[in-house]
């Protein structure tokens, strides 16, 4: 949710009003971000991003080289090549497309290439399904990418631009995936405010700047790119004598991500008047709440709608939207949750044979606390199953009953599935 607006540097009247769907908003953001190379392959519900961007290319509105690759594997491979060559690179996909990219996701992160990927979240086959869930995004959680989830179309636009800023920050240099719920955001028209092109350019500091690196065979630091003036070797063979050390680089880079995300969120707020919590977590009515629900993506709006309703009825409920899933904000979320009686963790995906993926994280977050809430995992919305307000309300009622009883009998619950 957009919080109370202070006077932004760019007044609202200078932020053009657009009525666009989430995919179009993402394409606009990429267009304004001076992207050098876009390589993408069509897959519902991401396709509109590629189509829209192709229009910008066809009309000469961007300098971008658009590479209409023959698969998502090649899309990710091409943006790795492009980013290594010094370009700002962007791609987008969903579901099986993201799964096909999987191998190269790890490579993009390990080579420290600040690629931005928009994922229009969709369920994985089989059976084939084109609708929203988060199993695709959860599938890439260990790949070394930063993962951000947005709630609405405005945030999709804002976050894609911020993603370039975060990815390219020298403290970070990691790729960023911006997740928007398939159809619920990708195909939903909402009114948004966009910045003038030059303000976006300014925010990003113009074209991509390449960081420097020190290797023994050059006296000075040289640009970390494929550069005929200072040749470097990307992607060497790394055996047990060095691989572990290289993974430490990624571990350390991830540690620096939260502060950068928070800074960028704050800068964006000053510029536009819009911010999303602290950029990592977006809490609502949690201070005195007995029952708190955590959720990712567009369902957060529906949850907030119900929290408002229940608060009006005097029930002590609250919610936290997890905007950043990787790196996971363990301490931050534990601090917000520790005083609740019951926490309902909503997952639009499940690790078969275990729990929902964010539930595992939240369990881990709270383990070290002496006083901690009871936890319930709600698996919901698989394959695009709608989560209407009534269903969310039913979940809260269950949780309130659990809070009253002080005991949770069934930790893993399925919301909205037919028996």
């Amino acid at each position: 949710m957009t919080e109370a607006v202070k006077t932004p540097i760019i007044p609202l009247e200078e932020q053009e009003l657009l009525t666009v769907n989430g995919d179009e908003a993402v394409a606009y953001a990429a267009k304004q971000s001076l992207v050098d190379v876009v390589a993408a392959y069509p897959i519902t519900p991401q396709t509109i991003i590629v189509e829209k961007f192709s229009e910008f290319v066809a009309n000469g509105e961007v300098h971008t080289e658009f590479v209409p690759v023959e698969s998502e594997h090649s899309a990710m491979s091409a943006v790795v090549g492009a980013a290594a060559a010094g370009a700002r690179a962007f791609t987008a996909t969903a579901a099986n497309g993201l799964a096909l990219m999987w191998e190269i996701l790890y490579i993009a992160a390990s080579l420290r290439l600040p690629i931005v990927l928009a994922v229009a979240n969709r369920a994985l086959s089989a059976p084939i399904n084109i609708h929203c869930d988060h199993s695709d995004a959860y599938g890439m959680r260990d790949s070394g990418w930063i993962q951000l989830f947005v709630e609405n179309v405005q945030e999709a636009y804002d976050t894609v631009i911020q993603a370039f800023k975060i990815a390219e920050d020298e403290r970070v240099l990691l790729p960023v995936a911006v997740n928007l719920d398939g159809f619920f955001l990708s195909h939903t028209l909402e009114n948004i405010r966009i910045l003038p092109d030059e303000k976006v350019h300014e925010f990003l500091g113009g074209y991509r700047k390449v960081p420097k690196v020190k290797v023994d065979y050059f006296d000075e630091e040289v640009p970390l790119m494929l550069n005929p003036a200072r040749p470097l070797t990307f992607g060497p063979l790394d055996l047990y004598d060095y691989y572990f050390e290289h993974k430490m680089h990624q571990v350390e880079a991830m540690k620096r991500v939260p502060e950068v995300v928070q800074e960028v969120n704050e800068k964006w707020y000053e510029l536009t008047g819009r911010k999303y919590g602290d950029g990592i977590l977006v809490p609502y009515e949690v201070e005195d709440a007995d029952v708190i629900v955590t959720v990712l993506g567009s369902t957060a709006g529906t949850v907030r709608h119900i929290v408002k309703k229940l608060r009006r009825e005097g029930k002590k409920v609250g919610m936290i939207r997890i905007k950043m899933f990787r790196p996971f904000p363990h301490r931050e979320i534990a601090e917000l949750l520790k005083n609740a009686k019951v926490v309902g963790v909503m997952d639009r995906g499940i690790s078969f044979g275990s729990y929902g993926q964010s539930f595992l994280e939240i369990n881990t977050s709270l383990y070290d606390y002496r006083k901690k809430p009871l936890l319930v995992n709600y698996i919901y919305g698989l394959g695009g199953r709608d989560a209407p307000p009534e269903l969310i309300e039913k979940m809260f009622e269950e949780l309130l009953r659990d809070a009253e009883k002080g005991v949770v009998e069934n930790k893993l619950r399925f919301l909205g599935v037919r028996e």
């Binding site: 290797v215 990307f234 992607g235 060497p236 290289h246 680089h249």
Partner: protein
């Protein structure tokens, strides 16, 4: 360049992005060799075929003659086999 770092290095001393930081010219493959090519410069007609075909870039033209760089030569024997005038012979590597 000689490095001041201890090898193998800790992660803090490795370059970003896992790019290689040394050239393989620092890594001598000459000790792989069981047979050593020896050039008879009196026979050599300077056709340069050994230089062309050497897989290890171990044959160097110094401006006047070919020189075998035993730091890198792995002793495959291609040079001896391809030499049109049999100026190169493969001899057992001295065991000392």
């Amino acid at each position: 360049m000689t490095s001041t770092h201890k090898e193998p290095r800790g992660w803090k001393d490795l370059p970003l992005g896992a790019v290689s930081y040394r050239l393989s010219t620092d890594y001598k493959t000459g000790d792989w060799r069981a047979l050593r090519p020896v050039v008879d410069l009196n026979k050599c007609v300077k056709c340069m075929l050994c230089w062309i075909f050497c897989p290890d870039m171990a044959i160097v033209w110094d401006g006047e003659k070919i020189v075998i760089n035993y730091d890198y030569c792995k002793g495959c024997g291609i040079c001896a086999h391809e030499c049109p005038v049999n100026a190169i012979t493969m001899v057992p590597e001295p065991t000392e």
